[in-house]
């Protein structure tokens, strides 16, 4: 794959029209007006029938999960989609997710983060790990974006060490659990209807905190003892509401423990959290591509238009160097995204190290390109009207969330050194 297929281009062109008509004029309102992005995301889902596609896929997955449960087999996710243990290609479906991400990120990466966390992480975790009943109860409305999801793992004292350093606890009570702890930097935290919450098992034993099983729970907005903070003020990504969660003696029944009782109680939450790494990192690369494409396009137009000493600055070699480096980054990131799509179509996935390398490079490239776009435009670039300053602030988070650059390096190195 060296270019988007005709069908993918049709999707891209339709989404671009939508984004330019419905989202671009509202970016200021979304970024600075404290307007949550959820109605815009729902409109995107409805407009392109993404809600119906998700509903259809949900019903198929649910029927398979029910069949597996009825047969008495473990509902352990196979990841194959057909429940027969054989991994098949996705027929290019990954592109249908990634193309809108690229297009949205030309204007508003925050929307993608809000959408990706709800659909990819919250709904994704429930659909992979939940029982059929749990899928029906929470997954059905999450996959269509009728409800908003959050995925709560990070804590004030554990970001990169989220699983080991986790302090949130789930104390067994005989007929359920009592949850306590604080989570922070939680995307959609302030508005989420459904929260996937990770906590360490407290079964009264003296097992050291680091070694305790991690359990995954599903919480609903408004539960007694659950407080969702107001959105944080951030450097960028203002269109994605981020906040804290405070849990104080939140009582939950076993029905909220994600997965079948046996698996869940064994602490498969660690794997549940790791399941998301590859998809999340590939998604960040697509986000980076959108930022890079837009910055490059705005920079080329500006360079041709902006006159200095009687000629366009595009004639200056220092400007040409910036444009050329942006193009190199665009080509590389696009190729990485294409590789991911091709692999999914072939029924294969990037290894964790490959996904980490892809994310590391793309995040750094997007930040550098966006900052260089600001530099190329000088004083204008520093002004909000020229749009690249927002993308530069937004891009910086690509190096921090979904695993910092430094964590990506360790994942790549661990793989290399294990050979």
């Amino acid at each position: 794959m060296f270019e988007w297929s005709e069908e993918q281009q049709a999707v891209r062109s339709a989404v671009r029209r939508f984004v330019e008509a419905e989202i671009a004029p509202r970016v200021d309102e979304l970024e600075h007006g404290d307007v949550p992005p959820y109605d815009v995301i729902r409109s995107l889902y409805r407009t392109f029938g993404m809600d119906q596609l998700a509903r259809d896929r949900f019903e198929r997955t649910l029927a398979q999960r029910r069949a597996v449960e009825a047969s008495g087999a473990s509902a352990q996710p196979s990841g194959d989609g057909d429940g027969d243990g054989v991994r098949r290609g996705d027929g290019g479906a990954a592109a249908l997710t990634l193309v809108p991400i690229v297009e949205l990120c030309r204007y508003c990466p925050g929307i993608v983060t809000a959408m990706g966390v709800s659909i990819g992480l919250a709904a994704g975790t429930i659909m992979r790990r939940g029982t059929a009943d749990q899928m029906e109860r929470w997954g059905r409305d999450l996959v269509t974006f009728d409800t908003v999801g959050a995925w709560a793992i990070t804590e004030p004292n554990s970001g990169s060490d989220a699983l080991g350093g986790m302090q949130a606890t789930a104390r067994e009570t005989g007929d359920g659990y009592v949850l306590n702890g604080n989570k922070t930097f939680i995307t959609n935290g302030p508005f989420a209807d459904t929260i996937v919450f990770y906590a360490k098992l407290d079964d009264g034993s003296d097992t050291p905190m680091r070694s305790r099983p991690v359990l995954t729970f599903v919480l609903d907005r408004g539960m007694p003892g659950l407080e969702q903070s107001a959105p944080f003020r951030k450097m960028g990504l203002h269109s994605s509401p981020t906040g804290e969660l405070f849990l104080s003696d939140v009582e939950v029944g076993p029905d909220r423990l994600l997965g079948s009782a046996g698996q869940a109680a064994s602490g498969e939450g660690r794997q549940s959290a790791k399941d998301n790494f590859v998809t999340e990192r590939a998604g960040v690369a697509a986000m980076a591509l959108g930022v890079i494409e837009q910055c490059l396009s705005l920079s080329v137009a500006y360079a041709k238009d902006r006159m200095l000493w009687g000629k366009a600055i595009a004639d200056l070699q220092l400007i040409q160097l910036k444009l050329a480096r942006m193009e190199v980054a665009r080509l590389n990131v696009e190729n990485l995204v294409f590789r991911h799509i091709e692999m999914e179509a072939a029924g294969r996935s990037l290894s964790l190290a490959e996904a980490s390398a892809m994310k590391l490079y793309s995040a750094q490239a997007a930040t550098e390109v966006a900052m260089e776009a600001v530099q190329l435009m000088g004083g204008n670039g520093y002004m909000a009207d020229y749009r690249v300053e927002q993308l530069a602030r937004d891009a910086k988070v690509f190096q921090i969330y979904a695993g910092t650059d430094e964590i990506q390096v360790t994942h790549i190195a661990r793989d290399l050194l294990a050979r």
Partner: protein
């Protein structure tokens, strides 16, 4: 012909039979890309990838709404090199099928030749209603739809800003400079629609995926039973003898307010007979 105004309409009644709607669509060079004229023929270079003319998206949407679930929309287009990209957009929106006439002999066709070709293609679909844009975004003659109507022996209503169908007739609010006329016309007929008639839908992802497997009937001039000498350069009743750059707009007059700016602006508007 344009129907006469019939006054205020009564309520719609009666069952609407499934509608077979043909929408004429043009595939044009992307207006966002720089356009080029052929040095020899002075016609628009149309060799690359073409897209659905934006002004036709309104007709497709109107057709889909009128055809509803029981009816069907067929797209009819004439384009070089078997180009179907623009048709796929209309099919993704929901049209059931398309007829494309593509033939080297059509190069240089004027509006009337185009109308002859499209009319022959439309006949094959046996439509209850033919919808077209008021004019294309690359040619702007605005004459093809009424020529099609004449060739098909159908009445035509132009500049529709609202359309409804009942009891074998089409009712149209026809845009005028002063407002609109209410016009009723028997089916089958040709109606041209303005950009305000409806808001075109975005194609759904499912629609885009389904579009590639929808039928596109590709025809040549001979398939339509037309004589090649009646179309293209051979049949054109017009010739482009030259092309000149449009006159550059003159510099405007800057009114600096020294207390009398309002008087000078009023005087200027009076001179233009605007006040």
């Amino acid at each position: 012909m344009s129907g006469a105004p019939i006054g205020r309409w009564g309520p719609l009644s009666g069952t609407i039979a499934p509608m077979n709607v043909v929408v004429c669509v043009k595939q044009i060079p992307d207006p966002a890309a720089p356009a080029a004229l052929d040095a020899q023929s002075h016609t628009l270079v149309r060799e690359g990838k073409l897209i659905l003319d934006d002004s036709d998206a309104y007709g497709v949407e109107m057709g889909l709404q009128l055809a509803a679930e029981d009816g069907e929309v067929t797209l009819v287009s004439m384009a070089p090199n078997g180009e179907v990209s623009g048709l796929r957009t209309g099919l993704a929106m929901g049209a059931a099928k398309a007829i494309l006439v593509s033939d080297g002999a059509l190069k240089g066709s004027d509006a009337l030749s185009t109308a002859k070709v499209l009319a022959k293609a439309i006949e094959r679909a046996q439509p209850d209603l033919v919808i077209a844009a008021t004019e294309s975004t690359d040619g702007y003659t605005g004459t093809t739809p009424v020529q099609i109507a004449e060739l098909l022996g159908m009445p035509s209503v132009t500049f529709a800003k609202k359309i409804s169908v009942a009891n074998g007739s089409v009712r149209v609010e026809r845009q005028t400079e002063a407002g609109y006329d209410e016009v009723e016309c028997p089916l089958p007929c040709v109606v041209t629609v303005t950009a305000g008639v409806v808001e075109p839908r975005y194609p759904s992802f499912k629609g885009i995926m389904a579009a590639k497997s929808k039928p596109v009937d590709q025809l040549t001039v001979a398939d339509l039973g037309l004589d090649a000498s009646s179309v293209g350069w051979a049949g054109a009743g017009q010739e482009i003898t030259g092309v000149a750059a449009a006159e550059e707009r003159g510099a405007g007059e800057l009114v600096v307010d020294e207390g009398d700016a309002h008087e000078r602006i009023v005087a200027f508007l009076e001179q233009l007979k605007l006040v």
